[in-house]
């Protein structure tokens, strides 16, 4: 994969977004198995309802994994120095999430040239579900 160069990146640049299809139960089941998070709240509607939730819902870490894809689709993963997020809203079944990222800062630290990218995952109604930032070292 080619890597953007520090000189060519400008504050305000946006990353190619990732548009996901509506969240379904199959995805939750696959992610539960693959991630090791077997919490029944995400895969068993009976347990979710007992806990006061209307239905099962998306793992926060599924959302952050997609935001990870957003970054590693832009620069190779061995350039990623930090990935950080707050899970600000629950991703419900049927939510179609779009992951977006924007370069907000260029900086130098420990002899590396870095860009800070604000990242977020929002549904089709514009409701932000996950928001955070990433630090990526560029050549």
């Amino acid at each position: 994969m080619s890597c953007p160069s520090f000189a060519d990146v400008t504050v305000g640049d946006t990353l190619p977004p990732i548009e996901l299809s509506a969240l379904d139960r199959t995805t939750l089941a696959l992610f539960a198995g693959a991630s090791g998070d077997h919490m029944p709240l995400h895969i068993d509607v009976d347990v979710a309802r007992k806990a006061g939730m209307p239905d099962v819902f998306g793992h926060g870490m599924l959302s952050l994994a997609q935001l990870g894809r957003l970054i590693t689709g832009w620069a190779p993963q061995n350039r990623l120095r930090r990935l950080s997020a707050r899970f600000v809203g629950i991703t419900h079944l049927g939510n179609a999430i779009t992951c977006t990222g924007k370069v907000v800062e260029k900086l130098e630290r420990d002899g590396e040239k870095l860009v800070r990218i604000e990242i977020q995952a929002a549904n089709q109604f514009g409701e932000i579900k996950t928001a955070g930032d990433a630090l990526v070292a560029l050549p």
Partner: protein
């Protein structure tokens, strides 16, 4: 309320040998189609020793070892009331399939908001590989809806 005496409590050490098949399954689950994450030849051409471990996968080490949820229960957390509040990863080296990863964690803080209606447990973790090299650090905030 969760007793604040648990601040500083260590979790049992968790270790996971990272397998290629598991990483391909993870890639499928998150819709990752970049060949670097599923085809070892593509990974090697990109400069990795084997399939690279996606940035968020290392959470699986403690989940597979089943050390996190029992530790939360041990300090009085009702697991049906928890939500993941925040997550941070810092990376110091690449982790690839074939590596054996060890995670050592402790509950670094416990606090509440809204007079206890919401409680928070902060977990901080150090991630090392089979050579004893620190490859990552993690910080998780778990929210409890009381």
């Amino acid at each position: 309320m969760i007793d604040r005496k648990h601040i500083g409590t260590s979790l049992p050490t968790a270790t996971l040998e990272i397998e290629k098949g598991r990483l391909r399954f993870f890639a499928k689950a998150i819709g990752e189609t970049d060949p670097v994450y599923v085809d070892e030849r593509a990974a090697k051409e990109a400069g990795y020793r084997s399939l690279p471990v996606p940035p968020t996968f290392i959470i699986a080490v403690e989940l597979d070892a089943n050390t996190l949820f029992p530790a939360l229960q041990n300090i009085g957390v009702n697991l049906s009331r928890i939500l993941h509040g925040e997550q941070q990863f810092s990376y110091f080296d690449t982790i690839c399939a074939g590596d054996t990863i060890t995670v050592e964690s402790r509950f670094a803080d416990i606090f509440d908001k809204k007079n206890g209606a919401l409680e928070f447990v902060v977990k901080e973790s150090t991630v090392t590989n089979q050579h004893g090299k620190r490859v990552a650090e993690m910080r998780s905030v778990i929210a409890i809806r009381n």
